[in-house]
Amino acid sequence: MALPETAQAETQPMIELRDVSKWYGDFQVLNQVNLKVGRRERVVICGPSGSGKSTVIRCINRLEEHQKGRIFVDGIELDADFKHIETIRREVGMVFQQFNLFPHLTVLRNLTLAPMRVRKTPRKEAEELAMHYLRRVRIPEQANKYPAQLSGGQQQRVAIARALCMEPQVMLFDEPTSALDPEMIKEVLDVMIELAEEHMTMICVTHEMGFARTVADQMVFMDKGRIVEMAPPQAFFSDPKNERTRLFLGQILSH
């Protein structure tokens, strides 16, 4: 190894998928997906529903298991070794379409639970951390409420703060605004744009093309379980190479 360790860590991709395939029974949901995401890179994945885009990111933290190919996160291979899975999950935060906040816990407890249980952070420190991130998503005043008492946009911002409390190196967003009323989408996107501007490594599955244009370093288009096209946003939006990409963009950008 010629490179010193730190330099190697810099050049090594944060996330790498090599020929990843996955089946649900006979249906192939991922077909030899190759993807490299560098440190501090922001990638937006789009594509028609059922194209496998959510499955890709759910494989990155092993919420779903890939059956062929290899996945590396920060140089650690995601395999059957449970230690690896645990390490990777600690470093990879995820935000879901349906928020998935813990309804029986207050906002503050939602945020402190994982740091206290997984990172063994003392309660006081965990609470300070939680308040820090609640301020960042601009709802510190909701700390003692229960999720059901918040609006959808507020819940999703709590979910983002909850993931950030683990201080992950990567954030995965699985259609974070798809379940929101239109007037709440912006407040969530604003928080995500701020994160992107701080160069958090991010993979977002989303149909918010305005957001994609603003923050993405790379655009990925998926169809039928394959990555069909990958390009920087400029080229992706102005001059898509693939027919299916063009069709898809035509459909979602036309209105």
Binding site: R62, M94, N100, L113
Partner: protein, 216 residues
């Protein structure tokens, strides 16, 4: 014929009700522990273990409690184990309750949305932590009404223990009836005592449900 005052009858029945309460408590505690064990085995055990648990539940739910009681009471002595009526009743009610509670609680854990497992896993929590801090607290709220419903059922089921000669509330009622020839009065009192045990349970459950409902 000896004559009994109403108070004599009531006092004897109330004293016997202690045994009904004891038997209910043993069966519920034992069944609760057993049910929890079945739940954990069903969720984390290997495939053959899961099948064994399912079979156990099917068998106990598919046969009359009275037959289970007879099998324990008459069966164990065949194996050279001497069983008192209390022990036989406690064992069979515990087995019975564990099967029902295991099944009720499994339904409740299943009712916790899939996303709760996803979210807690994505935060790096281990299986045990997920269960303890995220899944079970939510499952418990769902489980409260059916669990209390079953507990009420269980209290009433302890009456079957009278058949193997265990001197609880129903058996004492029978004995008093034989002595006084006033079955309507005696069994009326017996029923009233069962009701006095069961009604507060339902009432308490409703209050608890309201309190837990605030955090949901």
């Amino acid at each position: 014929m000896i004559s009994f005052t109403l108070w004599d009858l009531a006092r004897n029945l109330l004293l016997a009700a202690r045994w009904t309460l004891l038997l209910s408590a043993i069966a519920f505690l034992g069944g609760g522990i057993g049910g929890l064990l079945l739940l954990v085995l069903r969720y984390s055990g290997r495939a053959p273990v899961k099948r064994a648990v399912a079979l156990y539940i099917e068998l106990l739910q598919g046969t009359p409690l009275l037959m289970q009681l007879f099998l324990v009471f008459f069966g164990l002595p065949l194996l050279g184990i001497d069983v008192s009526p209390l022990l036989a009743a406690a064992v069979s009610l515990t087995l019975y309750a564990s099967a029902y509670l295991g099944e009720i609680w499994r339904g409740c854990v299943d009712a916790v949305p899939r996303g709760q497992w996803d979210a807690s896993a994505s935060l790096g929590m281990r299986y045990f932590t997920q269960l303890r801090d995220v899944i079970l607290p939510q499952a418990m709220r769902i489980a409260l009404p059916p669990t209390v419903g079953f507990l009420v059922q269980l209290v009433k089921s302890t009456a079957l223990a009278s058949i193997v000669g265990f001197n609880e509330l129903t058996k004492t009622g029978e004995i008093l009836t034989n002595a006084t020839f006033q079955p309507f009065l005696i069994y009326g009192l017996v029923a009233a005592i069962y009701f006095a045990i069961c009604y507060p349970l339902t009432f308490f459950a409703r209050a608890l449900e309201r309190r837990l409902g605030l955090a949901g």
